[in-house]
């Protein structure tokens, strides 16, 4: 039997809140041991060739909940998102320096295989990219390559559970053999989320997942993110500040490759400390 609920069922906010406090109040360092963050980034720099795109990012991401990355176009937020699952490795000219600790282990260490890392850190892209295969095969692909199911029944169970969790099961249960590309944009994006969930990841990265969706599909997606945040660490890049405010608990504001401000979402949107943040969220720059 597959268990997707690997994490405990305790109140998610209870786990989440102290992390925020820890980050804000550095004198309470001892609490970080009790609630270690999912990611700790130290002086992360990303280069495209000789061009430095990110200039030394230090950030901690909580085990559960939603962290939003906002900022004007070209500020490096998508580049930074791809640091977490080493997708930058696929760009020949890209180079990452610094440390990214996931559960205390540097994911850029020599012995870490990005293939295994990506099984733990799923990703959803800006444009829905289901495989040109059936809905079933889309979701089953990850479990198949990782050998998560030994029998067809187990695989069926994973597919069903993943689609249910992504809120798509009721819409597609009668047409699992239909092509995934035949679904609407919003359904495709949820299918892609189901596909990521099926591998049983700990983290889900989302790169502007709603930018190609209409408001209704966006609302559904945000609802889904809200449910998923209780089990997963979600990092989302978004252009919509309203969306960041709605779905995230923590927000990081990027500008020209620097992390300008990182705080509770509410704090960022009501009381930004940096002038640049204020200019951006009030629409004066960006």
């Amino acid at each position: 039997m597959m268990s997707l609920n690997t994490q405990s069922d305790e109140e998610p906010m209870a786990r989440f809140k102290p992390v925020g406090e820890v980050i804000n109040m550095s004198e309470k360092r001892e609490e970080t041991i009790a609630v270690q963050p999912k990611f700790q980034c130290r002086d992360v720099r990303v280069f495209y060739g000789d061009n430095e795109a990110l200039h030394g990012i230090d950030i901690e991401v909580a085990k559960t909940g939603v962290t939003a990355l906002i900022g004007p176009s070209g500020c490096g937020k998508s580049t930074f998102l791809r640091v977490f699952n080493r997708m930058n490795d696929t760009i020949p000219t890209a180079r990452v320096t610094g440390e990214v600790l996931m559960d205390g282990e540097n994911i850029y260490a020599k012995h870490v295989d990005p293939v295994l890392l990506r099984a733990r850190v799923g990703m959803v892209f800006q444009k829905p990219n289901p495989f040109p295969k059936s809905i079933y095969d889309n979701v089953a692909y990850g479990p198949r390559i990782h050998g998560l199911a030994t029998t067809n029944d187990e695989l069926d169970a994973i597919v069903e559970k993943s689609l249910k969790r992504a809120g798509l099961w009721n819409e597609v249960k009668d047409r699992l053999k239909d092509p995934g590309t035949g679904l609407s944009g919003g359904q495709q994006q949820r299918l892609v989320i189901a596909r990521a969930i099926a591998v049983n990841p700990e983290v889900i990265l989302m790169d502007e997942p709603a930018s190609a969706l209409d408001p209704i599909a966006t609302a559904k997606l945000e609802e889904l993110i809200d449910e998923l945040k209780e089990k997963y660490c979600i990092v989302i890049v978004t252009h919509s500040m309203a969306q960041a405010a709605r779905v995230s608990q923590k927000t990081a504001f990027f500008h020209l490759g620097y992390l300008v401000e990182y705080d509770e979402t509410q704090a960022i949107f009501t009381n930004p400390k940096d002038q640049r943040t204020q200019d951006y969220i009030t629409g004066r720059t960006g």
């Binding site: 997708m87 990506r118 099984a119 892209f125 040109p132 692909y141 590309t181 892609v192 990521a196």
Partner: protein
């Protein structure tokens, strides 16, 4: 306010109208040239097809003469042993001569008799009788009714290719022969039939007995070898170069050479085949195996280039999706990229192979230009190929060869068009959109 009026006048003035007119006439000129180009291309294609089909279609039927043949025992089997091997050596020419003389008993002059015998195909008729007796010796002594091919000159006469009004000396058939043929035609003894011989026979010195079967089989064998060798090698090389090869000077060099190879004249590949396969490896001359290998070499660059561009056309988002799920690069390539590129790979391969089917020059170099009268049954037997057969026939003088050349071209074009149609069909069928 003043700004808005000036802005309006910029697009309302006479000069603006002039500019618009110039732009429109440039566009309509372009359209006119485009339509003209298409019209010219269609016209030339139509002309080509018309001339080929117009000359070639008559080769698909041929005139046969129904004739009573008495298999006189004293000629066929003077010893009366009925041994098939002995029967085969018998003088069937004499049998056929007697048969046609019997049809026109009034002809007694020796020269006239020779002319009369020339109405039917000498070797075609004798071979037919010989085969029948060889297979069934009990026929000796009986009288058979055979349908034998007429000679190529008679056939051409009846197809209207020989001018009856031309002076006799400048005609291939005499007035007397015309009279005989007309008489036979009037009684229905000479009739035109579908020319199965053309599809079942191999090359021959006599046009009325020649066919393309040997050449087609030779071509198919060579194509089979070319396909089996070039598709796996080509696709494999392309996938490696596109997906796995490190980017360095060596791979750049390989890449440039592949692109250059695509432009190398095919006869050079023939020379390469001659030097490598025949002289160095000592493979048999004129064999479809060698022909296929040479054609495979020639097709490789086409397949590699087509495969690489098909791989490049696959949306990177699909590969990203696979990688983000923890698929390795190899898995992403073989699970997603190659299957999605398959229609393009297939189309490229079929078009490359279709090109190879039409190649003559490299086959000349490795000796597939021989006069072969047997249908090859293995890859190492001497064989000819369809384009080479066309080349050989186009060289022959008799009028009957001209129509056969065109008919062979029709067959070749039909195969090529069919292959391309299959390629388009497969591409549309397999192509998935995302």
């Amino acid at each position: 306010m003043s700004q808005s009026t000036s802005a309006a006048s910029v697009h309302n003035s006479d000069q603006a109208l002039k500019r618009l007119k110039a732009r429109k006439s440039a566009e309509s000129r372009f359209r006119f040239f485009g339509i003209g180009a298409i019209f010219a291309a269609v016209l030339m294609l139509g002309w080509l097809l018309n001339s080929i089909v117009g000359t070639g279609y008559t080769a698909f039927y041929q005139h046969y003469m129904t004739i009573d043949v008495e298999l006189t025992e004293s000629i066929v089997d003077p010893d009366g042993v009925r041994d098939p091997d002995e029967l085969r050596k018998a003088n069937f020419r004499k049998i056929m001569q007697e048969a046609i003389y019997a049809r026109f008993p009034e002809v007694t002059d020796r020269k006239e008799k020779i002319a009369l015998f020339k109405v039917i195909s000498a070797s075609g008729a004798t071979d037919q009788a010989r085969q029948m007796v060889y297979q069934n010796p009990s026929l000796v002594g009986e009288t058979l009714t055979l349908s034998v091919p007429t000679s190529d000159d008679v056939d051409q006469l009846l197809k209207g290719y020989i001018d009856r009004n031309a002076p006799e000396a400048r005609r291939k058939v005499t007035d007397q022969q015309i009279a005989w043929v007309d008489a036979l035609k009037a009684t229905g003894e000479i009739k035109s039939k579908f020319n199965w011989t053309f599809f079942t026979a191999t090359d021959s010195r006599d046009p009325e007995l020649a066919g393309i079967a040997g050449a087609v089989v030779g071509s198919l064998m060579a194509l089979f070898v070319a396909f089996v060798v070039s598709v796996p090698v080509g696709v494999g090389a392309a996938v490696y170069l596109e997906e796995f090869a490190p980017q360095n000077r060596f791979t750049d060099f390989v890449e440039i050479n592949i692109n250059n190879l695509a432009a190398v004249p095919s006869i050079v590949f023939g020379l390469l085949g001659l030097a490598v396969f025949l002289n160095f490896f000592g493979m048999p001359r004129s064999a479809p195996l060698v022909g296929g290998l040479v054609l495979a070499l020639m097709t490789l660059p086409t397949i590699i280039i087509a495969t690489r561009s098909a791989l490049r056309a696959v949306s990177p988002s699909i590969v990203d999706g696979a990688l983000s799920l923890g698929a390795s690069h190899t898995q992403a390539v073989f699970h997603h990229k190659v299957p999605l590129a398959a229609p393009g790979i297939l189309t490229g391969s079929i078009i490359g192979i279709a090109q190879a089917l039409g190649e003559t020059a490299p086959l000349l170099m490795i000796g597939m230009v021989a006069f072969v009268t047997e249908i090859p049954s293995t890859l190492t037997e001497p064989a000819s190929a369809l384009p080479v057969q066309i080349f050989l026939w186009s060289d022959s003088a008799e009028r009957a060869w001209a129509e056969r050349t065109s008919a062979a071209i029709i067959v070749l074009l039909t195969v090529l068009i069919t292959m391309n149609a299959v390629a388009i069909f497969l591409r549309n069928k397999l192509e998935r959109r995302w």
